[in-house]
Assembly symmetry: C2
Amino acid sequence: MNLHRRSQRWAGIGVGLIVSAAGAALAAAPKPPPTAPTMAAVIADSVAADWRPLDPEQTLYLQLEGGRVILELAPQFAPAHVKNIKTLVRQRYFDGLKILRVQDNYVVQWGDPEAGNRDQARALGAAQPRLVPEFSIGYDAQSPFTRLPGTDGYAPVAGFAAGFAVGRDPASKQTWLAHCYGALGVGRDDAEDSGNGAELYVVIGHAPRHLDRNIAVVGRVVQGIEWLSALPRGSASMGFYAEPEQRIALHSIRLAADLPAAERVDLDILRTDTKTWNAWVESRRNRQESWFKRAAGFADLCNIPVPVRAHSAR
Amino acid sequence: MNLHRRSQRWAGIGVGLIVSAAGAALAAAPKPPPTAPTMAAVIADSVAADWRPLDPEQTLYLQLEGGRVILELAPQFAPAHVKNIKTLVRQRYFDGLKILRVQDNYVVQWGDPEAGNRDQARALGAAQPRLVPEFSIGYDAQSPFTRLPGTDGYAPVAGFAAGFAVGRDPASKQTWLAHCYGALGVGRDDAEDSGNGAELYVVIGHAPRHLDRNIAVVGRVVQGIEWLSALPRGSASMGFYAEPEQRIALHSIRLAADLPAAERVDLDILRTDTKTWNAWVESRRNRQESWFKRAAGFADLCNIPVPVRAHSAR
């Protein structure tokens, strides 16, 4: 094997959530056949209208020592929870708190280490201590939705809405965000209304879709998840760090809209309601790259990443 | 919230691949109702015959600076590849090689950094440089198999065989190991017969099942995957490390059978052909713990971990 061959060894299999602005990595992919474009070709052929800018009012920057994690909030799916989280963020509630738990193939979770200590716990201020559950929410004929072809074991209907992987139940007219890799959720106790957004988690493993409709999902990571997913795993039960000094400092969480423009990272997200999106899904369902000897004819809901790129790539 | 409540916040959701020998974490779970045991109860109620010892002849120890990763080989699914890998291991082929690639939500991959350099590449010795593809293999009525209830989008039939998650195609009578979290696979170039086991990968993200039947899967991680999954991600294309000095040293790979008994870790794996296994699957499909407000009625093939415990737990 020569290096050239090794460098092609996985050509076409990898997909970064972040598309190179220069498109250099993509340009190396083989030419697509005309009727079935590859993933790389779908992105290369996309036009500006296929992308939407990430809204600074719905974007969180989580700053760790290692780097910045960028998250998109989904107020349309959990309005009260998102509002409460934004209240906490604007009070700088999270600054100086800790990542308390990193469970392999499951979640990274952060919050107040002293949350259980009435005298030491950080005050929630104007935020609500309990919230009505928003584990699912109603939808109607006007609600955005692009159905994903094929079966889904967890939801009667699955697809994408406004850039998020979602389930739907036509019988109850309810929809919900799916627990895919990178999903941002609100920890809670046994009581359904015990979550308030002060303790949050991000999925860093195989999609734990059994959590769907059991907990409020409020968004997803769009950039920098590696600053969470590569953290040392906790050795105590459920991946909690056994010793306080193992906890990871959370420097700050800010709403992008609250930062000067120069401190923001402007990102575009591929829209999920376009012909380009449909082509993207198809390029995942049946991989066209020469490396693949057999096309799956299927991609599960959490195996279709929603592409993100620098706004400057337009 | 008090600490007690936080410590219960995720009770019942987490599942370690490794079951505590002492059972302490499990004992804290709520009592199951008699007709539907929880995951914890299924394990607690298991008997010795529900477990099988990990076979030292099919067990690899991958030693990194951080710790030891234990992998179970599956010769029944890829006999030529497993034989070649064992030949390489016994030649100490892997000792001193490097982890070359860590792609977030995808794979960790290791091999010879000089594989492309004819003068510097490590010799394969008695191992074959190319192998007939073993992307799937025939089965018959005698082959072990426990079908998983519910649908699977990637395989006509899905289930478990000899401790591994597998797909089956009754039309062609072929079966194959599924690319679940922790799966061990054999890197290859574009040519189907270009894999030989000298370059291996482990899945560290959401199951990339589109790789099924495109590449030889030869086993899975049964302990210590966190030494791979928490490694720093590579910043070059497809997660390769950009600089040679970023690569992670692979101290050694040994077959457990080749080590003195004192240096082995004796593990048991839950059998996948018992009533206990069926109860385990059901405890994943419909979570009984009080935290859960809604049971999924489903668990996908890669969301059912095969429990592992210390042999001393018997």
